[in-house]
């Protein structure tokens, strides 16, 4: 099974608009996974039916039984995360800061602390407008373990793809290069980096690419808003060439990205020219998968 993951390093480069358009072009060829669980937006464009939802539990949350607690404060002393403050005469767990290490529970002399599974979000399975299946999720407020939720989304997507006999999973990743991104890369065959000609986007793409190289994942590039700065577009091309990365499309800045979004449509449904452009892009991705099947990180 092949997994194409769409990433950007910097946020706001058009990653999700592009991913959703590719999903519409690919149609029933793929199963879609929205791994930007922290700020998921793909569902706003793809009309998911939410036919199946499941609570996602991950990690541990400490809980103090106030009836057993004798306020000795040992838990407070051992907690490295300042998650057990003393408020109104009793020790309480601050659920935002508890990392679930369980240290408090192991040292409590009264056995007053239980370590429970923590509700960390929700996973949804949907049919989307293109007729295919999408797995998406919502992380709980301020929750940890977004990496694990990403892994769950991908895992579900793989199972669905296998069940339906689909060979490709199309993944919308999150910005940055931290734990949700690392998690979304496991099993990836190819990364599509969406950048824009700004100093910060180029800087972020370089950091992203270093990480992709670290995991030996091959990459292609799309330059969005390509008329923003000629100089930086040139700089991007020089850097791409040095690293042997193919730029498969340049898209000039277009307010249609916003107008399409407001109508809850993907670009290809909003304007004919994008239908052509994204068909070309999708074929480039398929070609790459066919001809460059190497460096696949498992």
């Amino acid at each position: 099974m092949e997994e194409i993951i769409i990433l950007s390093g910097k946020g706001g480069t058009g990653k999700t608009s592009i991913a959703a358009s590719l999903a519409m072009i690919a149609g029933k060829e793929v199963v879609v996974a929205d791994c930007d669980v922290d700020a998921a937006n793909m569902h706003l464009l793809l009309e998911p039916d939410f036919h199946y939802s499941e609570d996602f539990y991950s990690g541990i949350l400490a809980e103090i039984d106030q009836l057993k607690c004798d306020q000795c404060g040992i838990c407070h002393d051992v907690c490295r995360f300042d998650a057990i403050p003393f408020i109104d005469g009793k020790y309480v767990i601050d659920t935002l800061y508890c990392e679930g290490c369980g240290y408090c529970g192991r040292v409590c002399p009264q056995d007053a602390i239980s370590l429970n599974e923590r509700l960390a979000g929700k996973v949804h399975h949907s049919q989307i407008r293109s007729g295919t299946q999408m797995v998406h999720a919502k992380l709980g407020v301020g929750a940890e373990n977004s990496g694990k939720l990403v892994a769950k989304v991908k895992d579900d997507a793989r199972k669905i793809a296998k069940g339906l006999g689909k060979d490709i999973i199309l993944v919308d990743g999150s910005p940055g290069i931290g734990c949700p991104v690392v998690s979304s890369l496991s099993g990836a065959s190819l990364a599509l980096m969406i950048t824009e000609p700004s100093m910060s986007a180029l800087h972020d793409m370089k950091r992203l690419y270093k990480m992709l190289s670290h995991f030996q994942i091959p990459a292609l590039c799309v330059i969005n808003k390509s008329d923003l700065s000629k100089d930086i577009v040139n700089e991007i091309h020089i850097w791409l060439k040095e690293n042997n990365i193919k730029c498969i499309s340049e898209i000039p800045f277009d307010e249609s990205f916003v107008h399409a979004m407001i109508q809850k449509k993907t670009l290809i449904e909003y304007q004919e020219k994008y239908h052509t452009a994204f068909t070309v892009m999708w074929n480039e991705l398929l070609d790459f998968l066919k001809n460059n099947k190497k460096n696949i990180y498992l």
């Binding site: 290490c101 192991r106 992380l139 929750a143 690392v182 700004s198």
Partner: protein, 291 residues
């Protein structure tokens, strides 16, 4: 301007690319005309503030660390308690060896402090670096996570801690936060007096803003919104703010010149009049809301 004295103002956004760093750097530059400003870049996965402060000179670059256990083979009796105590599977007993997976370690100290033989002393491991730069009236600190390092939170905490030594000499601190709504954001705004959420007037912007407002309110922080690229999208964000009593501190008009200047890494408020005016509005709204 006195109500903002010695305040910590966090600038965040659920969605990436809404103009968080643009606002942070321009607000810091704008304020530094009258105040000593401390700017801390907490977007440690992809920090960009320093790219925009070209005039500033680097004073210091130091390594950032987190603490992980190391294994003392001579003291270890292979009781396996450490592996049992670690909730993150960061310590595993593999045959005649105890292996520590540093990426998984949360530095909770349970393994080391509960080891009956003291066979797991904690040691520093590098996770990134801190850069301190100075301009005339502006001090900036950037935390940058090492590539391949997964945990942003310890890096954010160290950037905050490192910044505190400059705080006493500053009149105000601006915190450029990471995008998203999960643990890195919670860590970044922990000590902030006020959180500004930068959004754009689009459905994606609105969706991410509403999650960010919910998160910041649960943390118990005061919050206000700056609408960037105003005029580009629809009225969804303004309607949401009205319905949910979220003050709109100011709006920055959609203007292609902003994107072009920002792309080149230029400051904007001193080149485009309406941006300067927007900052004046934001600061005066902030003064009312912070109290």
């Amino acid at each position: 301007m006195s109500v903002l004295n010695h305040k910590k103002i966090a600038i965040a956004s659920g969605k990436g690319g809404t103009g968080k760093t643009m606002l942070s750097v321009n607000l810091a530059g704008f304020l530094s005309k009258q105040k000593r400003v401390l700017l801390t870049d907490l977007d440690v996965e992809e920090p960009n503030c320093l790219l925009l402060l070209k005039e500033a000179s680097v004073s210091e670059v130091v390594d950032a660390f987190k603490m992980i256990p190391s294994w003392d083979i001579d003291k270890c009796t292979f009781c396996g308690l450490c592996a049992k105590n670690c909730m993150f599977n960061a310590i595993v007993r593999l045959g005649p060896q105890i292996v520590v997976f540093k990426e998984l370690c949360h530095s909770c100290y349970a393994c080391t402090e509960l080891c009956p033989e003291n066979a797991l002393p904690m040691q520093e491991v590098k996770i990134g670096q801190l850069t301190h730069v100075e301009d005339v009236n502006l001090i900036a600190v950037e935390g940058q996570l090492k590539i391949g390092e997964e945990q942003a939170v310890p890096m954010i905490e160290q950037a905050l801690e490192y910044s505190t030594k400059f705080f006493d000499d500053s009149d105000i601190q601006i915190l450029d936060c990471p995008p998203g709504n999960s643990c890195p954001l919670v860590a970044a705004v922990k000590d902030a007096d006020f959180v500004i959420l930068v959004t754009e007037p689009t459905p994606f912007g609105l969706n991410d803003l509403s999650i960010a407002v919910e998160t910041v309110r649960i943390i118990g922080k005061k919050v206000g919104v700056v609408i960037n690229k105003d005029g580009l999208g629809d009225s969804g964000v303004s309607d949401y703010c009205k319905e949910n009593n979220v003050p709109i501190l100011g709006k920055i008009k959609y203007d292609q010149r902003i994107a072009s200047l920002y792309a080149q890494g230029e400051l904007i408020y001193n080149k485009i009049g309406h941006v300067n005016q927007a900052l004046i509005d934001i600061v005066s709204a902030l003064e009312k809301e912070v109290v």
